[in-house]
C-alpha cells in the first residue's frame, strides 16, 4: 500500500529492542524511515526548513540519549509524531514570545506541494480544484487530512498525536470530504441523480 507500510508495527517492535541495546544500525533504520516525514510534519507547522530539521534532530537526539527507555514507549510511531509536534509548538511559542496552547486553531498548516513542473502541467483542473479546497480547510481539519493522506496514519494514531478523540478525527474528515465535494459540484452534476420524490 502506501510508503508508510515499509515499517510495520511488528518490525517497529523489533527495532525498539535493538535500539535499547544501543544498536546504531537499528536507530539508523528508524531515522531513515521517519525523519523526512517528521520534517514535513514539523515544516507544516513552523514553515522553515532549517527549523523543521532541527526540531526533528532534537527528537532523535533525545531518543538516542534515552534509548534504554524506548521499550516502554507503546507506539513509537505516535511517539515520534507527538514529540515532533510538542517540540515544534515549543519552537513557535518561543519565537512568538507567547504561549501557543491550542495550536491548530491558529497555525496555518502547510500542505506539501513539491511536484515537479512537469507533474504540475499534467495535473488536471479537477486536481487543482481539490487542492484549493484542501488548502482552504480550517487548520485542524487540514492537519488531520494531511496526516491521514500523506503519512498514511490511522485515525486512532492521529487522534493520539493531536490529543483529540477518534470521533473528532472522523468528523473532521467528513468536513474535508464535504468541502471538496462542494468545490467539485459542477464537475459531476451531469451524472443523473435519482429524483428526490422517488421513495
Amino acid at each position: 500500500m502506501s510508503d508508510t507500510e515499509i515499517i510495520n508495527d511488528h518490525f517497529l517492535e523489533g527495532l525498539k529492542k535493538r535500539i535499547a541495546e544501543s544498536d546504531q544500525q537499528a536507530f539508523r533504520i528508524l531515522f531513515d524511515s521517519y525523519s523526512s516525514k517528521l520534517i514535513e510534519f514539523a515544516f507544516s507547522m513552523v514553515k522553515l526548513r532549517d527549523a523543521a530539521t532541527e526540531i526533528v534532530d532534537e527528537v532523535f537526539v533525545r531518543i538516542w540519549q534515552q534509548r534504554q527507555r524506548i521499550v516502554s514507549i507503546q507506539n513509537l510511531k505516535v511517539y515520534l509524531y507527538t514529540a515532533t509536534k510538542n517540540t515544534a509548538l515549543n519552537y513557535i511559542s518561543k519565537k512568538a514570545k507567547e504561549q501557543v496552547t491550542e495550536p491548530f486553531d491558529f497555525i496555518n498548516i502547510q500542505i506539501r506541494d513539491n511536484e515537479s513542473p512537469e507533474q504540475q502541467m499534467i495535473t488536471s483542473e479537477i486536481f487543482k480544484k481539490i487542492k484549493i479546497a484542501v488548502n482552504e480547510l480550517p487548520p485542524r481539519c487540514k492537519m488531520i487530512f494531511k496526516l491521514i493522506r500523506e503519512d498514511g496514519l490511522k485515525y486512532k494514531e492521529v487522534a493520539e498525536i493531536l490529543n483529540v478523540s477518534v470521533n473528532t478525527v472522523d468528523a473532521q474528515m467528513v468536513i474535508a470530504v464535504k468541502r471538496i465535494s462542494e468545490k467539485l459540484k459542477s464537475d459531476f452534476e451531469w451524472v443523473p441523480r435519482p429524483s428526490s420524490k422517488k421513495i
Binding site: M1, D3, A20, S22, Q24, F31, D32, S35, S36, E40, D57, F60, V61, R62, I63, W64, Q65, Q66, Q68, R69, V71, S72, I73, Y79, A83, N86, N90, S93, Q99, T101, R112, D113, N114, F127, I130, K131, I148, R149, E150, K154, Y155, N163, D170, M173, V174, A176, V177, K178, I180, S181, E182, L184, K185, D187, F188, E189, V191, P192, R193, P194
Partner: protein, 371 residues
C-alpha cells in the same frame, strides 16, 4: 450534496478505516447515487497522487545521522547523568528486566508508570519508564515554561523541574527542586501533582508557589488562588491538608517539631499545627507583586525582616554570587526592602543605607564584614 454519513464512509474507505459492513453500505449507496461514486473516484485519484516524500539522500543522510549521534553524546555527558548512573549500575539487559517487572506490577496495581516512578524514593537508580523533560534555571537566571497541558510555570534561580512526556495522559505530575510558581489549567479529570523531596502537592486548577531547595531546612508552598491539598511524602494514608488562598504551608524537613512563624511574614497567625508542619496566613489585601513569596515572579527580590545571614543565601541564587558574611553581628541584622533589576553592587549599596557594613566584590565572590 453529500450527506455526513456518506462523506464519513468515503473518508474511511480512502484511509482504509472502513469495516466490511460500511463498505457494503457504501456500495449500495453508489448503486443509487452514481454521482457520488464518480466523486469518490475523483477524490481517490487525488488521494493516491500524493507526492513521494523525498527519501533521505544517502550521503546527506550519513552525515545527518552522524551529526545526531554526536549531538546525543555531547549532551549526554553533561545533562543526562542519571541515565549514565543507571547504565553503570545495571547494564542494559538488567534494565529491561526491570522494566518488564515494573510493567507487570503496574498493570496489577492499576497504576501508571508515572505514579510508580514517583512513589519510590530510589528511582534515581532505576531506569525511567518514560522519556522526560527537564527544565533548569541556573543561578542568577529565572525561566518560564509552558507545560503540554497549557499550565504555566515560572522557575526561580537555581531550580529544576522535571515532567514526563506522558504528562498529558491521565495524571499530570512534575518533580521540583528549588522554587517555582504554578498556574495550573483546570482539569478535574487529570489531577496535577507537584512532587518535592518532602511533600506532594495535589492540585485541581490553581496558582501557587512552591519552594523546596535542598539546602534549606523547610519546604514551603503558598497558595494564591484555588485549592491545593498537601500530603507528606511516603505517607499516602496520612490526612491531606487543604490549603486556602493566601495561606502558606511550611514543612520542616529536619525533625518533627513545630516550625516557628516565619519571620518573613510578621503579622501572621499559626492556624493549624501538626508536628513538622505549620500553616500561616499571609497578610490580607496585599497584591501578589508585594507578597514576599511571589514577588520574584515579577522580577522583584523582596525581603521582610529576614536576617542578613538568611537573606544572603537567597541573594546568592538571585545574583549568582557567593556571599561570605564574616561578622556575626552583621549576619544578624534584620532587613526589609526589595530590589528590582539591580546589580549585586547596587543592592549592597542600598542595604548600606539602612545598616552599616562594608563589602568587597571579587568576581563572583562577595565578602561582607563590619565597618
Amino acid at each position: 450534496m453529500l450527506n455526513d454519513r456518506i462523506a464519513a464512509l468515503i473518508a474511511r474507505h480512502l484511509s482504509g478505516e472502513a469495516t466490511s459492513d460500511e463498505l457494503r453500505e457504501l456500495a449500495e449507496h453508489f448503486q443509487v447515487f452514481p454521482a457520488d461514486q464518480y466523486f469518490e473516484e475523483l477524490l481517490r485519484s487525488y488521494w493516491n497522487s500524493k507526492p513521494d516524500i523525498p527519501a533521505q539522500q544517502s550521503i546527506h543522510s550519513d552525515e545527518h545521522f552522524k551529526h545526531i549521534l554526536e549531538l546525543a553524546d555531547e549532551e549526554t555527558q553533561g545533562k543526562v547523568r542519571e541515565i549514565e548512573i543507571s547504565q553503570t549500575l545495571h547494564g542494559s539487559k538488567k534494565i529491561r528486566a526491570f522494566i518488564k517487572r515494573y510493567s507487570v506490577a503496574a498493570a496489577i496495581a492499576g497504576i501508571s508508570f508515572v505514579a510508580w516512578k514517583f512513589a519510590f524514593p530510589h528511582h534515581e537508580v532505576t531506569p525511567k519508564q518514560e522519556l522526560q523533560n527537564e527544565v533548569i534555571a541556573k543561578k542568577g537566571a529565572r525561566s518560564q515554561l509552558l507545560l503540554p497541558d497549557g499550565s504555566q510555570v515560572r522557575l526561580n534561580s537555581d531550580s529544576r523541574l522535571v515532567y514526563l512526556n506522558h504528562f498529558n495522559d491521565s495524571l499530570r505530575e512534575v518533580e521540583l527542586e528549588g522554587e517555582a510558581y504554578f498556574d495550573v489549567v483546570k482539569d478535574p479529570k487529570r489531577p496535577f501533582i507537584v512532587h518535592t523531596s518532602g511533600i506532594d502537592i495535589h492540585v485541581v486548577g490553581t496558582a501557587f508557589n512552591v519552594k523546596s531547595y535542598t539546602e534549606e531546612p523547610t519546604i514551603e508552598t503558598t497558595l494564591i488562588h484555588g485549592t491545593i491539598e498537601v500530603v507528606k511524602k511516603n505517607q499516602p494514608d496520612a490526612p491531606r491538608l487543604i490549603l486556602h488562598p493566601h495561606e502558606k504551608y511550611i514543612f520542616n524537613k529536619a525533625e518533627d517539631r513545630l516550625v516557628n512563624n516565619n519571620v518573613a511574614i510578621p503579622e501572621t497567625d499559626v492556624i493549624k499545627t501538626n508536628t513538622a508542619i505549620s500553616i500561616t496566613a499571609l497578610p490580607k489585601n496585599i497584591p501578589d507583586t508585594s507578597i514576599v513569596e511571589t514577588s520574584w515572579i515579577y522580577n522583584k527580590f523582596r525581603f521582610e525582616g529576614e536576617r542578613f545571614g538568611e537573606l544572603s543565601i537567597r541573594m546568592e541564587r538571585w545574583f549568582n554570587v557567593k556571599i561570605i558574611i564574616k561578622n556575626d553581628k552583621v549576619a544578624n541584622y534584620r532587613l526589609r526592602g526589595s530590589f528590582v533589576n539591580e546589580t549585586i553592587e547596587d543592592a549592597l549599596k542600598a542595604l548600606q543605607l539602612s545598616v552599616s557594613f562594608k563589602y568587597t566584590i571579587n568576581g563572583e565572590e562577595v565578602e561582607i564584614d563590619k565597618e
